[in-house]
Symmetry: C2
Subunit: 201 residues, 2 copies
């Protein structure tokens, strides 16, 4: 399917909330959500956020593939996150504190998003199911980051590659190797060699 109808996008988001909380969504909740949800389509390479900008919009990816990266003083890009459908996208610190972000976020494939400004997001948090979802997401996010920190420090490039193949094989279908290499913290040449070795096995 190439693109979503608005109603499908809404429905996708509602089921996501339901899947991430134990509290049901009431009809009033759904009405409130419908009134504050804004959908947006990003073309390939279109930016959701650029460095030094304040992240005014945070959102949910209904469909598509995106990346979040930073650029260091030497001009090298470092991929912080690769994002697919049903992930949240945005720089949370910049969004909440309204401070300039150090990140770029752009669409790698054409993407359908549901976006919230901070005001709208805060309105959403009054819905118990959404509040529970948000807290659960923070918890998982923090523990995923802890795991990533400890993996990056204690595993070899090859072990990290094998981890990623196990946990996110879909990345290899959706993103080119040089982005995945950067996400893994290695060069594209090293990733190419690791894959070569892995195929032989």
């Amino acid at each position: 399917m190439d693109s979503y109808f608005l109603s499908d996008m809404h429905e996708a988001f509602f089921s996501y909330i339901r899947s991430k909380s134990t509290v049901p969504l009431t009809d009033e909740d759904i009405d409130l959500l419908k009134s504050i949800m804004v959908s947006k389509k990003l073309k390939k390479r279109q930016y959701l956020l650029t460095e030094s900008e304040i992240c005014r919009q945070g959102g949910f990816i209904v469909k598509g593939a995106m990346r979040q990266y930073s650029v260091d003083e030497k001009g090298d890009e470092h991929v912080i996150q690769l994002l697919l459908e049903h992930w949240w996208v945005g720089d949370r610190e910049s969004f909440e504190k309204e401070t300039p972000s150090p990140f770029f976020i752009d669409a790698w494939e054409e993407s359908d998003l549901i976006l919230f400004t901070k005001d709208k997001f805060d309105m959403m948090l009054r819905i118990p199911a959404a509040a529970e979802m948000t807290s659960n997401i923070s918890t998982s996010h923090i523990s995923a980051l802890h795991k990533r920190v400890s993996d990056t420090m204690s595993l070899t490039a090859e072990e990290r590659y094998e981890n990623l193949m196990r946990t996110h094989p879909e990345f290899f279908q959706r993103f080119p190797q040089h982005l995945i290499a950067s996400y893994l913290g290695i060069t594209k040449e090293t990733l190419s060699r690791i894959r070569h070795k892995a195929i032989k096995k």
Copy 2:
């Protein structure tokens, strides 16, 4: 000061909450807090949490120094976090989801803590100032972890050392070098050599 009186510990925690939120603490809030706060002193090397255990207590460090680490299959320890006074300690995922933790957490110096069980913590969250504090802490924690991931991947050991010297010089007073090395994701020998070079400069 070697140890805190209960009232000092309470006061330290109240000022912390005030510093992390815009909503004031009412007298009723303070009464509620006093009724649910439990203080505990840990001796050096005493564990707050061990691997495969569920983290039943999360807490605030009033005074002391602690570390959180994991042990891999080879038996090597990997320091995930070094913690000093006014930090939160605990494995958030294990605490919230009541699942076994992969981490050990112990006191490196004798430490005074204020601890909450999950029930008590949820009661505390009904206080608006505490809820705001918690959300702010999550946000900062996530962005600090993002930064650590990207630093670990893109900086050399020496640059990471210099970063740490800039951001947490106190670690070098409170923890031995082999723990700091592990926290930086390098061996103690490499850290020793980096410091040697740095002194010459």
